[in-house]
């Protein structure tokens, strides 16, 4: 298995640095296959999800009604959207009036939860860094709004500077750290040291 992973990975990786025509064609073919297999993996995941919940229904485990609702919703969508098409008016109706309201409402809950979390932060953990955290958040939020006829001088400029300079510096450091970690992890897989696929 490691041979497959390393060989396929090396073909793709070398293509980043050496633009050879034949290698490029093999690389494009591998990427195409990977895309198709990813789509198959998606379907495998959905089938597994249905199987897990079906077992829950079959064994009448607690909450099996919810699992039954999940399976019915899945089947309904597969049948309806599969028949009418993914961008048919029916599909768009389901998307507009069921998926969007549900997901948007879940996102909207953050308003309450984050406000409560921010208000209680100092009660749980008061330190220099929590003060800096809340201060930065408040400056950025207040800098983005201004009541007509009432403005704090310099607040907008300071908020813009905060997001452009120190926040960018921190974000850049985080990005570089994440990239270094990704390279290390990827190279471990490409050298066969790490085998998350088993074997």
């Amino acid at each position: 298995m490691a041979v497959i992973a390393v060989a396929a990975g090396l073909v793709v990786l070398i293509g980043y640095f050496l633009p050879m025509p034949l290698l490029g064609e093999v690389r494009a073919l591998f990427l195409h296959w990977a895309m198709i297999l990813f789509a198959i993996a998606l379907i495998v995941g959905v089938i597994n999800l249905a199987r897990v919940h079906w077992l829950k229904v079959a064994r009448r485990q607690p909450g099996y009604i919810n699992s039954l609702a999940l399976i019915l919703a899945l089947l309904f969508l597969v049948v309806v959207v599969g028949y009418f098409g993914p961008i048919s008016p029916v599909s768009i109706w389901i998307f507009n009036y069921i998926q969007v309201p549900l997901e948007s409402s879940l996102m909207a809950l953050l308003v309450v939860v984050l406000a409560l979390g921010g208000a209680r932060l100092f009660g749980r953990h008061l330190s220099l860094f929590s003060v800096i955290f809340i201060f930065s958040a408040l400056i950025t939020l207040l800098g983005s709004v201004s009541i007509i006829g009432f403005s704090v001088p310099g607040l907008d400029e300071f908020a813009a500077w905060l997001s452009r300079v120190p926040a960018t510096a921190g974000a850049r450091g985080i990005l570089l750290g994440v990239a270094l970690g990704a390279v290390a992890t990827g190279l471990r897989i490409l050298t066969g040291s790490d085998r998350p696929y088993g074997g």
Binding site: A39, I43, A69, Y97, L102, M107, A169, R172, A182, T185
Partner: protein, 228 residues
């Protein structure tokens, strides 16, 4: 307004209220609605995967494509069937070659993208912050930009240092990093706190936009029924 949209607005109205009820307490209706949502999302993902990828790119070439297309698509077909054995626990091991193929390509993509897309350009960008041409052409004052560039450089290096966790263990003492690394990473912590604060503000803004949009949709439904 056509009847389908009206029914849809009513459905959306009640779904929004049920989801908002979670603020007060986790309840049966909320959990039921969430399971329905997961089923719909999973079903749509499966449909798009089949409709947009597997059917036109795998099945059609195998059934009605040229010989070359047929030959090239046999391999993903076989690998795909092996991958599907993951559903059955007794033969789940047959899917390992496919997983190895995907993992190898994924790892290479990540490494290549990280090196060429982030590491090298961002380091080059850090160096170019002190480029004379860049400083002179910047919107602000030359020295203002120099100060900003210095702050960005210091912030980037100290943030990176914060994530270095090599330490020595000494007899009878807690494991800790060298004093000079601790002091540099302390400064990095400040930059990370500022970055996370700005991120928190961004997440909150996104949540507030969703909240306003949802409240607006609730108001529209109520007004649609109240107004003649």
């Amino acid at each position: 307004m056509n009847p389908a949209d009206l029914i849809g607005m009513i459905v959306g109205f009640f779904l929004t209220l049920i989801t908002f009820s979670y603020i007060f307490k986790d309840n049966v209706l909320f959990r039921l609605v969430m399971h329905i949502f997961i089923g719909l999302a999973a079903g749509y993902a499966a449909i798009m995967a089949w409709y947009n990828v597997i059917w036109p790119q795998l099945v059609v070439p195998l059934v009605s494509g040229t010989l070359q297309e047929y030959i090239w698509m046999v391999i993903p077909l076989v690998l795909g069937f092996l991958l599907m054995t993951r559903i059955i626990p007794s033969i789940a091991g047959w899917g390992k070659p496919t997983l190895a193929f995907l993992v190898g390509i994924g790892a290479a993509t990540v490494v290549g993208g990280a090196v060429l897309g982030t590491l090298l350009p961002q380091i080059r960008g850090l160096i170019n912050l002190f480029d004379q041409q860049y400083l002179e052409q910047s919107a602000g004052n030359y020295w203002n930009q120099m100060v900003n560039s210095t702050v960005i450089l210091v912030g980037t290096i100290t943030t990176l240092t914060y994530f270095q966790f090599q330490a020595k263990s000494r007899l009878g003492q807690p494991v800790k990093r060298a004093a000079w690394i601790e002091s540099i990473s302390w400064i990095g912590k400040i930059f990370i706190a500022i970055t996370l604060g700005v991120l928190f503000a961004g997440v909150y803004s996104a949540g507030m936009a969703a909240f306003v949009e949802r409240m607006n949709s609730l108001v529209e439904v109520v007004l649609a029924f109240l107004q003649p």
